[in-house]
Symmetry: C2
Subunit: 202 residues, 2 copies
């Protein structure tokens, strides 16, 4: 880890290094120095791409969110709506090591948004995009109060992720899947498709 | 703010100073130095009570959680269950300035729990206590899947708080109250008392 390459690096590589540092030791430790060290480059190489730590954070969050939204959008639309919702939203739960790392980093950015207008704007757009996507599915199957229930479904997943990252023993993966299925079922209460889709794939 | 008192201070006063720093500029800025400055004491006075920053964090989180759990427990038990749940859980939502500050600090500690076993243990006990309390209410009125729905209700509130602290414009107080009422109503689906209590007080 003491090796330093003074050759050029890319913003994407630095964002990946920031993600690794934040996932392993917390976003509060993702300083320019630590990110440079993790990427194997000089501090100057980081500063070449990002004039401030805030710039680096904003770039990393945008890249992370873009990848996440692409994955959510890639969920098969020909699935039954309840299965599509489960497939998409389970991307946001810490169901394995990779998603636990992601959940840790994204919740850390969500908290940081409370004190950073730049991060808050990225977060606001992300929440709005995901809520709109969930709403569209719910409206498509005649769910009552679709927009409110979409916000609830997203909040449930965000809250489960927040609760689970610090208390994995209270929220093992099978349990998280079970409670997400339950929330989807409650969300679809009163929906046209309710009866035929009440059972989710295991 | 440049005044420093070298007289003795109390752990409670330091915890209050830590809370203020974390609420205003983020938990990552709640260093021993900043907490001392906010409390108007020397760094040595902080170190007299807390040998490490982790000790200081753990004490502050325990104190904060104890106060929060006391407030939740003080909710009138003779209220209708849906109103009691609303009264208790709305304590956890950023519905005014005081609760916005609390929501910011408690979510920051929740994320920090992912990298701190001491904070994780405090968080685990807190979640377990609140979930058990919600479960007891739900079991008392014959709610199906009471424990799962209790975990969901808590996760929804935690997620709404997380989503709202960085995006207050997307989650104004009236909207947060409305979505909490909706989640409580969905939670009580199939409950004995469902019909008589479907309406919550405004």
């Amino acid at each position: 880890m003491r090796e330093r390459r003074y050759s050029s690096t890319s913003p994407d590589r630095l964002a990946a290094a920031l993600f690794d540092v934040a996932a392993e030791s917390g976003l509060e430790n993702a300083s320019v120095r630590e990110v440079a060290k993790r990427a194997g480059v000089s501090i100057g190489a980081v500063q070449h791409h990002f004039s401030t730590k805030d710039d680096m954070f904003a770039f990393a969050l945008r890249k992370f969110v873009d990848e996440l939204l692409s994955r959510l959008a890639a969920v098969q639309e020909d699935e039954a709506p309840s299965r599509a919702l489960f497939a998409a939203l389970s991307q946001l739960l810490p169901l394995d090591d990779a998603r636990s790392r992601e959940a840790h980093v994204i919740t850390a950015f969500a908290v940081r948004a409370a004190t950073s207008p730049t991060l808050a704007e990225i977060r606001r757009k992300t929440l709005f995009t995901i809520r709109t996507g969930i709403s569209a599915v719910l409206i498509g199957i005649g769910t009552p109060e679709a927009e409110t229930r979409a916000a609830l479904l997203l909040a449930t997943v965000d809250g489960l992720a927040l609760d689970a990252i610090g208390s994995p023993a209270l929220y093992p993966p099978e349990y998280l899947q079970h409670v997400l299925e339950t929330q989807i079922r409650l969300t679809l209460t009163g929906t046209d498709a309710h009866r035929s889709e009440i059972e989710l794939a295991s």
